[in-house]
């Protein structure tokens, strides 16, 4: 984590972050604000109560367009890389997806939006170069793959997100969870989705880099909207039970192990109309029918000590054979207790099961808990 500042990239909001007193840290090759003056705790709570503005411009934005001009060709092509129903995605709707590998592991998680004549993808910052070459090497015959490095990405999250964004773009209010629309906001042409990664209602706004700082400032000028750093983004997504790629998901975790079955629609499963055909399909489809040997679960530590990533899990205070490992953990400012996510052997994943985490040489009791820890607040209707 000590890369020379020269090696780090900056987003179009860098000057705004420093002007706001953001504490800048290296993250996925970028200098990003981990927190501002209020600190992670207050920023987290503010987002759940009001609205938080996040700079997620480090994430990758990619357009996939069929060479034939037929969107169905691009949908079929994408389905060779992801186990989700892309062909069934309606125009201007978005879906959570996974790039799988031939071992059934997860190469990245992403969003795919159907924009009518192309698909719009948002991928993780640390994976974007790999994802781009993955797409190009597999889909080049049928699709034009176009990265959008000149667009920033802002996330506006929280119960006041709708009223705030509607001041500049009234049409955003009519959108529902996972809708995508082109909106003209503060003079800029934006691609807006009603989504996010905090468990709250909100929007992700793709905007030309040159217009990003002005829109961010305009949103921050609204009462109730505050700049929120990556620290609170992490605690918010953890409380919401959402996976962080590289921690909770990686090339060795399968979608079934990760409890992401919901992301694989029936049509892509065995006996579905568009079954299989993605990397690792045999392994993943088998696991969908028979289950996996371990599973991602929530853990609620019984004490006040956070149980963080890397902590090993045991059935009791003495046993020497670990039954699992924590992949994300910290303190949940909204639930006001420590929260963790872990992979646990399938025999021990029933909610309510008490197991023990090794923290600094002590065995602390933790209870397997349903995810999410908070009630998700999406605008579904």
């Amino acid at each position: 984590m000590t890369a020379a500042p020269n090696d780090l990239k900056r987003t179009p909001l860098f000057d705004l972050h420093t002007a706001l007193g953001g504490k800048m840290v290296p993250f996925a090759g970028y200098e990003m604000p981990v927190q501002y003056a209020p600190g992670v705790l207050r920023e987290h709570i503010h987002t759940r109560k009001h609205a938080g503005l996040f700079d997620v411009s480090h994430m990758g934005q990619i357009i996939v367009r069929a060479r034939s001009g037929d969107q169905a060709d691009a949908a079929r092509a994408l389905e060779t890389l992801v186990p989700v129903d892309v062909q069934g995605l309606a125009k201007n709707r978005q879906r959570y997806a996974l790039f799988t590998n031939r071992h059934g592991g997860i190469q990245d998680d992403l969003m795919i939006a159907d924009r009518g004549d192309h698909f719009f993808l948002v991928v993780n910052a640390a994976c974007k170069d790999i994802d781009l070459s993955h797409l190009k090497s597999h889909l080049d015959e049928t699709c034009i793959i176009e990265p959008l490095p000149d667009r920033a990405l802002l996330a506006l999250q929280g119960p006041q997100a709708e009223t705030a964004l509607a001041q500049y773009a009234p049409d955003c209010a009519a959108m529902r969870f996972m809708d995508v629309a082109n909106l003209h906001i503060n003079g800029a042409d934006c691609i807006v989705s009603r989504s996010g990664y905090t468990g709250e209602d909100g929007y992700e706004i793709s905007i030309p880099s040159a217009d990003a700082a002005a829109l961010a400032q305009a949103l921050l000028d609204i009462e109730g909207v505050e700049a929120i750093g990556l620290g609170a983004r992490d605690s918010l997504r953890l409380e919401a039970g959402l996976c962080l790629y590289g921690s909770d998901l990686d090339e060795t975790t399968t979608p079934v192990e990760a409890a992401l079955e919901w992301a694989i629609q029936k049509t892509r499963r065995r006996n579905g109309a568009t079954q299989g055909g993605f990397p690792g399909a045999e392994i993943i489809l088998d696991e969908l029918e028979n289950g996996a040997t371990r599973r991602r679960v929530g853990l609620k530590p019984e004490g006040r000590a956070p149980v963080r990533s890397g902590a090993e899990l045991f059935t009791d205070e003495q046993s020497e054979n670990a039954i699992g490992i924590v992949t994300s953990g910290g303190f949940g400012p909204t639930v006001e207790h420590p929260v963790s996510m872990a992979y646990v052997a399938i025999e021990h994943v029933s909610p309510g099961t008490q197991i023990f985490a090794d923290v600094r040489g002590k065995r602390l009791p933790v209870v397997v808990t349903k995810l999410p820890f908070i009630t998700q607040n999406y605008k579904r209707k």
């Binding site: 927190q35 705790l41 207050r42 620290g231 605690s235 006040r304 000590a305 956070p306 303190f331």
Partner: protein, 120 residues
């Protein structure tokens, strides 16, 4: 005698007992604390041993014994309410008191001016 360490702890030495806490600078850098784990009374530490652990929302950090000695008292108020460390690190937010093996060793630690220069 008020002394400081390069690990951002302060010690108030009275007789052969040092009261130990973390500096305002350290408390600010750590952010809002949500958990504090203190040593047991009677525990013995060498200088530089991990004596306590603090956790913010984001990360865990270790608090070191500034000198060799034995823990004679701990501040349970901060384990019940870790926020005290953030609001009053130099006073109510003290961590533990330790009986020093060698009081004169404290002389070698930083004084307030030297610590001020360290943190700039």
């Amino acid at each position: 005698m008020l002394k400081f360490t390069e690990d951002h702890e302060w010690l108030q030495v009275e007789g052969d007992v040092a009261t130990v806490g973390i500096t305002e600078h350290a408390a600010g850098e750590l952010g809002d604390l949500v958990f504090v784990e203190l040593p047991d009374v009677g525990a013995k530490f060498d200088m530089g041993d991990v004596a306590a652990t603090v956790e913010s929302v984001k990360a865990a950090s270790e608090i070191y014994a500034p000198l060799k000695g034995e823990i004679v008292e701990i501040n349970e108020a901060i384990t019940n309410d870790p926020a005290i460390v953030n609001t009053n690190p130099a006073d109510d937010g003290w961590f533990f008191k330790m009986k020093l093996d060698d009081v004169s060793a404290a002389e070698a630690l930083l004084d307030e001016t030297a610590y001020g220069e360290l943190i700039g």
